[in-house]
């Protein structure tokens, strides 16, 4: 799916970042079975460093892992208030990119989550429920090879 012809993920997330004035947008997807279904951040826009490339998440771990496992969007409006500082290092992408307010949505292939799209700000409370909702609506029904909504059948 990475090589969906005619779809340039880097360009697309750059555009998304421009459109919603995000500080950071990143796209993770799940690796095939031989790599034990780990999640890695494949593309990033607005990143401070290359740390995201080294992060490998298991299902249920980290932002991408949680969204992947639950299949539900996740909003952290204010990192300082919603996550305890002791818990913070379990979300390496937040620490690495110094995000303060962020949301993540699952990307579907049929009835399975195959990717996670994360967008966030480095200022507190920039992303709240209504703007997160707007962002989700702003995504069209498809994002490259992925669908933004859960499909009816595989």
């Amino acid at each position: 799916m990475n090589n969906q012809p005619g779809f340039h993920y880097q360009e697309e997330i750059d555009k998304l970042r421009e459109r919603f004035r995000f500080d950071f947008v990143s796209l993770a997807w799940v690796q095939p079975a031989e790599d034990r279904f780990v999640l890695t951040w494949q593309y990033a826009s607005g990143n401070l460093n290359e740390r995201y490339k080294r992060i490998v998440l298991h299902s249920g771990k980290g932002i991408a892992g949680i969204v992947f496992k639950t299949g539900k969007p996740m909003l952290i409006q204010n990192v300082a208030a919603d996550l305890s500082s002791r818990d913070l290092f379990n979300y390496p992408i937040i620490v690495a990119e110094q995000l303060k307010s962020l949301g993540a949505v699952p990307l579907w292939e049929g009835k399975r989550v195959v990717g996670v799209l994360l967008a966030g700000y480095r200022t507190e409370d920039r992303l709240d429920e209504s703007s997160f909702e707007l962002f989700q609506q702003g995504l069209e029904t498809e994002f490259g090879a992925f669908r933004v909504k859960e499909g009816a059948h595989p």
Binding site: N49, R51, I55, L57, S85, F89, I93
Partner: protein, 358 residues
């Protein structure tokens, strides 16, 4: 030895009474204080002394809080004042002292004048000795706790690795066999999914086992354990650990290896949590009969004297305690903006013999 004359003895005894560090009380049959030396006056409450002097209440009881017997730390049963025939040549007594609250004393109490029933009570301050003993006990206790924790972690880790993971693996093999049997497409799909989630579960269990205590630490030594730990750190947190080991795969006592591993683990975790950098340098080497571990980052650093810890503050304490357990030295260097360096030195000369024997 000089010939002791009566006069001389009197003189010495008097000097001892006046200048001794020991508090001396002379007590009559009724438990009243008839005399005390300056050292004794120093420890008693001013009020109590005044009352004793004026004869309102001469009883020693108002100062004494009780003594230590077989049953209680502080007890008044069979008080030494009332049972002079009891064995009171050496015991521990608690006194209410001037300004210091209730303080333990080593005491001896015996009759010196049979006909008039005069007895002497001599006291020696025990607080310092008790503090030493408490420290010793705490160190020992801590050693036991850390050892018990390590042992338990090792046990659970082995159990997970050797039995739970093995059982799961054989079920997984069974499941794979199923795929080659004559089953429908639907069943095959479901099988694949189950296989995938079981594989993931097996992976999780292995992780858990390693996280508890890497078996490689016991089987292969520090270097191997560190290498797999740092790989794990890199994947989980996106931090690069630059590790250089100059040990030539040497092994040390398991106590030492555990301490080095845990201290390093904690130091690297601190670096990735607080330094703000994405690189940590770890160096492990031998120097002048010492095992030297250095964990360094070029991050934000912190003020060592700030007293206000960013986390719980327990990590640093724990590292220091662990280092002390094996007679090691723990050093922390940091300044705001100047990065942080943690250094651990453990003398290994005494353990070399052991390693050679095994």
């Amino acid at each position: 030895m000089i010939q002791m004359t009566e006069e001389h003895l009197h003189d010495l005894l008097k000097k001892m009474y006046l200048n001794s560090m020991e508090a001396i009380f002379f007590i009559d049959e009724d438990g009243n204080v008839i005399a005390m030396n300056p050292a004794a006056e120093n420890i008693l409450d001013v009020d109590v002394i005044r009352r004793m002097r004026s004869g309102v209440d001469e009883s020693f009881c108002q100062t004494c809080k009780g003594y230590t017997d077989e049953k209680d730390l502080i007890s008044c049963s069979k008080c030494y004042l009332d049972y002079p025939q009891g064995e009171f040549s050496s015991f521990q007594v608690y006194l209410k002292t001037r300004g210091e609250g209730i303080v333990p004393y080593a005491a001896s109490y015996h009759t010196i004048d049979e006909s008039r029933g005069i007895r002497v009570l001599m006291l020696l301050d025990l607080t310092k000795q008790q503090k030493t003993q408490e420290m010793l006990q705490r160190m020992n206790m801590l050693k036991y706790v850390i050892k018990a924790q390590e042992d338990e972690r090792k046990r659970i880790s082995r159990e997970l690795h050797d039995s739970v993971a093995q059982e799961l693996l054989s079920s997984l093999v069974d499941l794979r066999v199923l795929k080659y049997m004559d089953v429908g497409e639907d069943a095959l799909n479901k099988l694949r999914q189950t296989e995938a989630s079981l594989t993931r579960l097996l992976d999780d269990i292995r992780h858990l086992s390693v996280e508890l205590r890497p078996s490689s630490l016991d089987d292969l030594g520090l270097e191997a354990a560190f290498r797999s730990h740092f790989k794990w750190i890199e994947k989980n947190y996106g931090i690069l650990v630059r590790f250089s080991a100059e040990l030539a795969a040497a092994r040390y006592g398991s106590e030492i290896e555990t301490v080095v591993y845990r201290v390093c683990q904690e130091a690297v975790l601190n670096a990735l949590k607080y330094s703000g950098m994405d690189e940590v340098h770890v160096r492990l080497c031998e120097e002048q009969g010492q095992l030297l571990l250095t964990v360094r980052d070029d991050g934000v650093g912190f003020d060592l004297n700030a007293g206000e810890a960013k986390g719980t503050g327990l990590g640093l304490y724990g590292m220091r305690e662990r280092a002390e357990l094996v007679g090691g030295q723990f050093m922390l260097l940091s300044a705001p903006g100047g990065g942080t360096t943690v250094q651990l030195r453990i003398p290994i000369s005494s353990f070399e013999g052991e390693a050679n024997e095994s």
